[in-house]
Amino acid sequence: MDLIESYREELQLIRKPGTRVWVGAFVLLLILLPLFAPEHVIYVVTIIAIYTIGVQGQNLLIGNTGQISFGQAGFLAIGAFTFGHLNQWGVPWPFGLIAAGIAAGLFGIVVGFPSLRLKGPYLAIATMGFGIAVYQVFVNSETLSGGRMGLSVHKMQPLFGLSAINFNYYFNFAIALVFTLLTYNIISSYMGRAFIAIRDNDIAAEVIGVNLTRYKLLSFAISSFYTGIQGGLYGLFMGYLEPNMFTFMESINLFVAVIIGGLASVEGSIMGAAFVILVPQVFNAYKELVPVVYGVTILLVLIFEPMGLYGRWFKLRLYFRNWPFR
């Protein structure tokens, strides 16, 4: 529907002035949030911001490259514990965070190797096996997991005279914003197009000159880098880490966020992250029923709206743009 006339236009993140206003207003609202929202809301939005990073990485892998992975909890754990141990040794947080991302990314490459031979369901099982194996290694090894009490992480000292919760909010929000912009740029670059070509048909992609090995591994590396960063930030925010934060259910959570949000869409990733965080908050009184809500939403989304929440939003926008014509 949008007519794109030049490559410069294709690379632009926002093409219409109207969208610019909306996005600007949304970011401004998030920046001003601590002025009027209660602390509990800020806490939840901070967690959503942290989650957004991992879901975006996951979406690059599942939505854009079409490689299913159920092993995200493993990468999350690797990132989080790398960060936790470095933090214990007194390494400053920027290096710790980057190291967390890189450690997870390296494991991502290792897990990516089976993806060169395996497809669809088989890959899903291989990655699932990885995720659970990592969890069990952490559970069984006290040196890695920091013992029974978990690994404590030194929280950051608030700067600029902000309260701790507001400082954490701005810190995580800024990092999430940086990663969101990064994701947009990855998708609109050569790399992003190579990913999409692999998803649509990997043999055809190889025929037109996409280096399959490199880009499949790259996709795994980038997505686990994102997840590792998420793990590190989560540890920094929570102040302690224990293996039970990274069970198979955590992988499922991230996966659900991608599916419900909408495959291959950055906005969808953000909506999906918000969904998986908000549902347990809303259904706080009926904790047992949270999986039911997830499950029912998955069934409805996959049967009626395969594009996810983003697809619904997109169609709504289209409807109002064309109103009163159909």
Partner: protein
Amino acid sequence: MSQFLQYFISGLSTGSIYALVALGLALIYRSTRILNFAHGDIATAGTFIAFMLLSLNFHFSLSFLLALLCGAAIAMLFYFCVLIPAQRREATQLGQIILTLGFGLILQGLISYFGGSEPQSFPFPLSDTTVYSFGGIVVSQLGLGTMGISLLACLLFFLLVQKTRIGLAMRATSENLTGAQTLGIPTRKILALSWGLAAFLGVLAGLFLAPALLLDPFFMLEPFLKGFAAAILGGLNSLPGAIVGGLILGVAESLAGGFVSIAFKNTLAFIIIILVLLVRPEGLLGEEFKERV
């Protein structure tokens, strides 16, 4: 040596449970190319139904039978109410796998809501403290019963698939769906039957596992994952492979737990998955992958 045999036998008994789970998974994968992530949850649901019936003072045989049938009914319901509408809307294969995941989550939530998430002990006619000794090797009554029932179930299942008209129709459907439809086989009913049978086997495994473990909404998660590993090891599209894979996995696990370390026992299955997929993705008895552009 007797220690080795002891581990071997106890491995066979757990392995036969894995074999039952793997058989259900392989049956569904073979006929519909769907990995059933709800398999463990359906089995848990069936076991909880048996538990509720038992606490209402039903007889063992009756409540077990009802639980098995309920499990099968749940799976068929899923096939008719979710998968078929999704297929009408051209859901992809990945989409259908995710649907089973969603259904599993729903079942899991409902079980914890209605059944309670506290671990409960499951009453069972066979006890695992009464033991028999065969020349130095000790087998519990429960282990013996598990092995016997799984062997019987596998045998009956084999006869059903290989020797009856229904089995022929099932094999034809999994071989070539359109071809089977052309020949007048009611493929939808046959596939629903496959789902039901798979769930039946899953619940059977759940019923024999519950007395050995404690009954809680997640008790089937690990055996289910192990069943997955077993199915992969034997080849996902091969039914005999599932049984062989299950037994090998059970024995390997028991030996690793006995001679290497207990902590390593649970990780073994997932290492096996990754190794098998790297070296021989089609499994021990599976067929080769073929792909065309």
